[in-house]
């Protein structure tokens, strides 16, 4: 036996090196996998943040402009219609020609395409709307918006290959160069307030996310109001009331399967049932909320059930022991104790709903909605859909807006998840 033992341990030792190499390799695969995942995360975020922050800023050119009542065609400063209908375009155009010293037709065209004339006109209009009497006839300095192509080019100055240069001809590049050399009164880059205060627009320099943001809020409101009570009721039923029978099994199988049904299928359901059969209005947060409620319910139900399960049976027994009815036990003890867990699950479900796009695409929420919605039955769009819309637009300026909107969406999501983490750590009770 002793002989054999020595033999065995020799054999073991002989193979050890090879086995340890395999061990090292295997561990390396593990570390590599994790690194790959983390690298993707870092790459994705750097990409999003670097592109997104760019979209928050815009280039302006400060210009002095004389608000000539004659050019504008305003005779009565109290007449709102006159102010709204005045010809700001010509006013701005004229001033732009002067600044760029453009006289010939071609020069004028070159100059005109460097500045966002209409958007600048709207800025003047906004000023006059509140203060026409005192401003009219004076000379003011206003930050004129540059054209979105100019903005694109200016933001990428110094990058390899000079992206955006191809948009301009020689003369235009010369004009931009001249302004860049100026010490004072040249281009300035500042926060794009329009992006946060206005709705979608056909012009990228005037487009903002306010309407999509409000749409998302309304959508979340509808989804929360429906999915929270229904989800909790279902979870309570399944955990506290449901008898063990075929019907309960069927409900459980359905919930588990719905959790894994592709979201686009829910879009088809919304299209066929809510829009086509019941005739609810298209593109509204109401219908979107219905669809997302059905979609997020499984998530909420599953986590609410876990929260209810975590309530120790001793508490139920104690309440039953002093003669409480089933409903009293549920409402007085089980639901309050499980509430933090259920809230956490709901917030996570809502975060999922906030980022969801595919089903909303089906029910027409990928629409051009410039107006900020004021009710759940107003047509509106939501943040993911707005991103998608801008992404599809070929204009260079819109892609930047989409990146910026992505940042807003992600910030929104981070806040919701932070809320969930907070709710979990502060409110949840460990038994």
């Amino acid at each position: 036996m002793t002989d054999k033992n020595i033999n065995t341990i020799d054999l073991v030792n002989k193979n050890l090196k090879k086995r340890y190499r395999a061990e090292k390799r295997f561990q390396a695969y593990g570390i590599l996998s994790i690194c790959f995942g983390l690298m993707c995360l870092v790459f994705l975020f750097t990409d999003i943040i670097s592109k997104g922050t760019r979209g928050f800023f815009y280039h302006y050119l400060p210009i002095e402009i004389h608000l000539d009542a004659e050019v504008l065609g305003i005779t009565d400063t109290n007449d709102v219609h006159q102010i709204l209908g005045a010809d700001y375009t010509t006013l701005v155009k004229k001033r732009v020609y002067e600044i760029f010293e453009a006289k010939k037709r071609k020069e004028k065209k070159n100059a005109r395409t460097l500045i966002a004339i209409d958007a600048t006109g709207y800025r003047i209009q906004d000023l006059l709307k509140t203060n026409a009497a005192s401003l009219l006839g004076t000379t003011i300095t206003i930050d004129a918006l540059v054209d979105d192509k100019v903005d694109f080019y200016l933001k990428r100055l110094g990058e390899k290959g000079e992206p955006g240069k191809e948009y301009f001809n020689e003369a235009q590049l010369l004009l931009i160069g001249k302004l860049l050399e100026r010490q004072e009164g040249g281009f300035n880059k500042s926060l794009n307030k329009t992006f946060f205060t206005s709705g979608d627009s056909a012009q990228s320099e005037e487009a903002g996310i306010l309407s999509a943001f409000m749409g998302s809020l309304y959508l979340l409101l509808v989804t929360f109001c429906l999915s929270f009570p229904i989800g909790i009721a279902t979870a309570v039923y399944l955990e506290e009331y449901a008898p063990k029978n075929k019907w309960t099994d069927l409900i459980e199988i359905n919930i588990n399967n719905l959790a894994a049904v592709p979201s686009i299928i829910f879009g088809l359901l919304g299209l066929a049932i809510f829009l086509s059969f019941f005739g609810f209005p298209r593109s509204t947060p109401l219908v979107g909320g219905f669809v997302l409620t059905l979609m997020t319910l499984p998530t909420i139900i599953i986590s609410s059930r876990a929260a209810i399960k975590a309530v120790p049976p001793s508490i139920r027994e104690a309440a039953y022991g002093i003669g409480a009815s089933k409903m009293q036990v549920t409402i007085h003890h089980v639901i309050p104790l499980a509430m933090p867990g259920m809230l956490t699950g709901t917030i996570i479900g809502l975060a999922q709903a906030l980022g969801e796009s595919a089903p909303l695409l089906m029910i027409g929420m990928a629409a051009f909605i410039p107006d900020v919605p004021t009710a759940i039955t107003d047509p509106s769009t939501v943040l993911p859909m707005q991103i998608f819309q801008w992404f599809r637009n070929a204009d260079a300026g819109f892609s930047e807006k989409a990146s910026a909107a992505i940042l807003v969406l992600i910030l929104f999501l981070v806040m919701m998840n932070a809320l969930a983490v907070w709710a979990r750590s502060r409110l949840e009770r460990r038994w």
Binding site: N5, T8, I9, V12, K14, N15
Partner: protein, 273 residues
């Protein structure tokens, strides 16, 4: 003992009896084990002789399983567990930072409380150890190892016709003997058994005890057990643990008839446990 008062555990400074032997297979000196902040074993010194069966008994939570798991460094899998002191296998320090646990465990095998056959066939269960260690060059060698191991474990006659059926399909006692066969297939020098019969019925237990007796001809065996009768039946020496301390080690007969320490006596007479 004349006076029947039980000694306070804090008064135990030294193990009584004969903890040390001449031709030791494994020798442990001043072993302390900590789980995080909590100390589980206090300065245990003990020798295990060649081809000896040593039983470790004591009330639950006394640290006997923890001590056993130190002997082939199974405690390494528990992150917060820390072992200090000298533990030697034939003069080699087991807890040497340079020592490799893989060949150590090939030399010091272990059988667990609950039978834990892998969800594989009976054959593959026994062949698992030889396979990972590369002990058999050819298929025929492997067949031989499997057959000898199963024979030694007294399981061959029962399973020879269904070697390729899953090991999990066997009865509890058979599963535990399969686990023993799996351990001896690697030809270890020492076998550690952690309450190997606690999950088995009396008949299966008797078979395992018989098996331990036979195995003691070729292997050194350390067995942790809850059952004092079992310790009395199978072991040559018995070690009594109490609250992480080794109270007494003596010839099994002496421990069960005339223990040196009042705590041991109290335990074997059933005053606590």
């Amino acid at each position: 003992m004349e006076n029947n008062t039980i000694t306070d555990i804090n008064d135990i400074k030294e193990t009584v009896g004969i903890p040390l032997v001449d031709n030791a297979k494994m020798s442990m000196r001043d072993v302390d084990v900590f789980y995080g902040e909590k100390q589980a074993i206090f300065g245990v010194s003990l020798d295990i002789g060649v081809n000896e069966v040593i039983a470790m008994i004591g009330p639950s939570g006394c640290g006997k399983s923890t001590f056993l798991r130190c002997l082939n460094r199974m405690n390494d899998t528990i992150e917060i567990c820390k072992v200090t002191g000298q533990l030697h296998l034939e003069g080699q320090n087991i807890y040497d930072s340079k020592l490799d646990v893989v060949p150590l465990r090939a030399r010091v095998g272990m059988v667990f409380q609950k039978p834990n056959p892998f969800p594989k066939s009976i054959y593959d269960n026994v062949a698992y150890g030889p396979r990972i260690h590369g002990l058999a060059a050819r298929r025929a060698d492997m067949d031989e190892i499997v057959e000898t191991s199963l024979r030694k474990a007294g399981l061959w006659e029962e399973v020879k016709d269904r070697l390729h059926q899953p090991g999990t399909g066997l009865s509890g006692g058979q599963q535990q003997r399969l686990c023993i066969a799996r351990t001896i297939a690697v030809s270890p020098e020492v076998i550690l058994m952690d309450e190997p019969c606690s999950a088995l019925d009396p008949i299966a237990t008797a078979k395992i005890e018989e098996l331990i007796d036979e195995l003691s001809e070729n292997f050194t065996i350390a067995i942790v057990t809850h059952s004092m009768q079992q310790a009395a039946r199978v072991s040559h020496r018995t070690a009594y643990f109490h609250l992480g301390k080794l109270v007494e080690v003596n010839e099994t007969e002496k421990v069960f008839t005339n223990p040196d320490h009042s705590l041991t006596e109290a335990y074997i007479t059933g005053r606590f446990g």
